[in-house]
């Protein structure tokens, strides 16, 4: 059985088409990543699935229940962590957790097992008001509160935005442990490097899915060879690459530029000759596997620059 299904969802706010014809399926116990920049429509889709917004067109179901007709039944079965911290700032850590449990007629004790790993990290501060916690602690508390009624599906809206790389890794380790409990997770993120940690992903921009698949298949679907190119003068290198008519796309990617060629006849030796002819030293060209970020740029049609 699928945990979440959405068919041809559309949502409009006045003149802005927030979502157009979006469909997805999330298998039970899967981590599904909604990957895209701010304003792409990630929050709108999550809010529709969490029964907080009604779609203009299309249907969706969560745990077998329709998001419009059976919204009340869905709410007992899902946990939702919004992008903005939305617990009670004036209640303590402990009070927040007890409150959220009681709303769902649950107790902290009966579901403690599920949150134990995470809660132990904030337990030393259980008497502290939630508003006085650091960002990382707030995030952990919010996750505990979203889990305390033992939901089947968890909706996490940008849980790692603004979080440093080390804490982001910790957060993803927590998600992997929740997956072992059989919880299905829909998580949105603007960080493309988190895509590889999901079972399946949708790349989203301007309210449309560019592609939905496993991260491995998305990378496999990249429709050309990709080269990593370096020289001693990286900014001149980028300009010279763009000036080359055989280059289809070239852009900075960390310590190298990623380059794709227009036609098959042109190869790395041709490029090496071209660059050395322009005075580049220590030219280094190597074929690489594209990343999800490379795929995102290619699919969104922004790969020329």
């Amino acid at each position: 059985m699928t945990a979440v299904t959405a068919n041809h969802i559309c949502k409009r706010y006045g003149k802005i088409q927030a979502l157009s014809d979006v469909s997805l399926e999330i298998g039970e116990g899967d981590i599904f990543g909604l990957i895209g920049p701010d304003g792409a429509g990630k929050t709108t889709l999550i809010r529709i699935l969490a029964t907080l917004l009604v779609p203009d067109e299309g249907t969706a179901s969560v745990c077998g229940f329709d998001v419009v007709k059976d919204y009340a039944r869905i709410r007992n079965k899902v946990g939702y962590m919004p992008g903005r911290f939305s617990l009670y700032q004036d209640l303590t850590v402990e009070e927040n957790l007890t409150f959220f449990a009681s709303v769902f007629h649950a107790t902290v004790e009966e579901n403690y097992d599920l949150i134990k790993d995470i809660y132990q990290q904030i337990e030393p501060f259980r008497k502290r008001r939630a508003g006085a916690l650091s960002g990382g602690m707030k995030q952990k508390l919010a996750l505990c509160c979203a889990l305390i009624h033992e939901p089947s599906v968890l909706f996490l809206d940008e849980p790692t935005t603004g979080v440093d790389p080390v804490s982001r890794k910790e957060f993803w380790n927590m998600l992997k442990r929740l997956k072992l409990h059989g919880i299905s997770i829909l998580v949105s993120t603007p960080y493309m490097d988190e895509a590889s940690l999901c079972d399946r992903i949708a790349l989203i921009q301007n309210g449309k899915f560019l592609q939905t698949d496993t991260p491995q298949n998305i990378v496999k679907g990249f429709d050309s060879e990709l080269w990593s190119v370096k020289s001693d003068t990286m900014s001149k290198l980028l300009a010279d690459l763009r000036f080359n008519k055989n280059v289809r796309s070239s852009f900075a990617f960390g310590d190298a530029h990623h380059v794709a060629f227009k036609k098959d006849g042109y190869n790395n030796r041709d490029l090496s000759e071209y660059l050395e002819g322009l005075g580049h030293t220590n030219v280094y060209i190597q074929k690489i596997e594209p990343s999800v970020e490379d795929c995102f740029m290619r699919l969104s049609g922004n790969s020329i620059l």
């Binding site: 603004g162 080390v166 960390g254 310590d255 995102f296």
Partner: protein, 254 residues
Amino acid sequence: MISNVQIPEERVIVAHDLTKKFGSFTAVDHISFEVGKGEIFGFLGANGAGKTTAMRMLCGLSKQTSGEARVAGYDIARESEKIKRCIGYMSQKFAMYEDLKVWENIRLYAGIYGVPEKEIAPRTDELLQRLGFEAEKQTLVKSLPLGWKQKLAFSVAIFHEPKIVFLDEPTGGVDPATRRQFWELIYQAADRGITVFVTTHYMDEAEYCNRVSIMVDGSIQALDSPGNLKRQMGATSMDDVFHRLARTAKRIEQ
């Protein structure tokens, strides 16, 4: 082989043993570093490592507990008003007034920073043309896509040609293509001699900096070019360097 990185001779930031305590908590612990004119300096660290506190002191918004620093030649404790005049600042959270039009935002900031009245209008047109935003002159900032907002906000932050611009996570949530265009604007500014002091959680962006510092528990644990840091630590990427250093953090989040 580790080569010494040439720092431009003219120093625009010089910090010596800069320290900030909040009660018994030492947020910034004796940090010392120098940044040269036109450098792109990446200021990295985990959440809670003390980056924001350090940045607030350098901008003249918070007084140090001990130590000293000069920014653009001025003492941060005694001459903070002079510092504010010759720096620019932008963050992901606050950049521009959403309910003002594009040109009104530029007009407002230019006025605050004392750009001569006669120059504002022509320079506004020139800026919008360079960004390809001419058609958006009369648009309310709130209706621009995030990536455009951030590019515009950066351009506004350097409209008065400051000596240094401080950027606090400027590209958070921005799409990958626009993120790269944003960095091209940073390069152009640095080429004009504006020093760029930038924080980011994207480790590929750390690679674009001339030098980066990495703060752990209030102190600077590493400071060098990305290339040298990777060689010193035998790491393959800045992400790798960051994880190795930040994992040594002992400080329990308060």
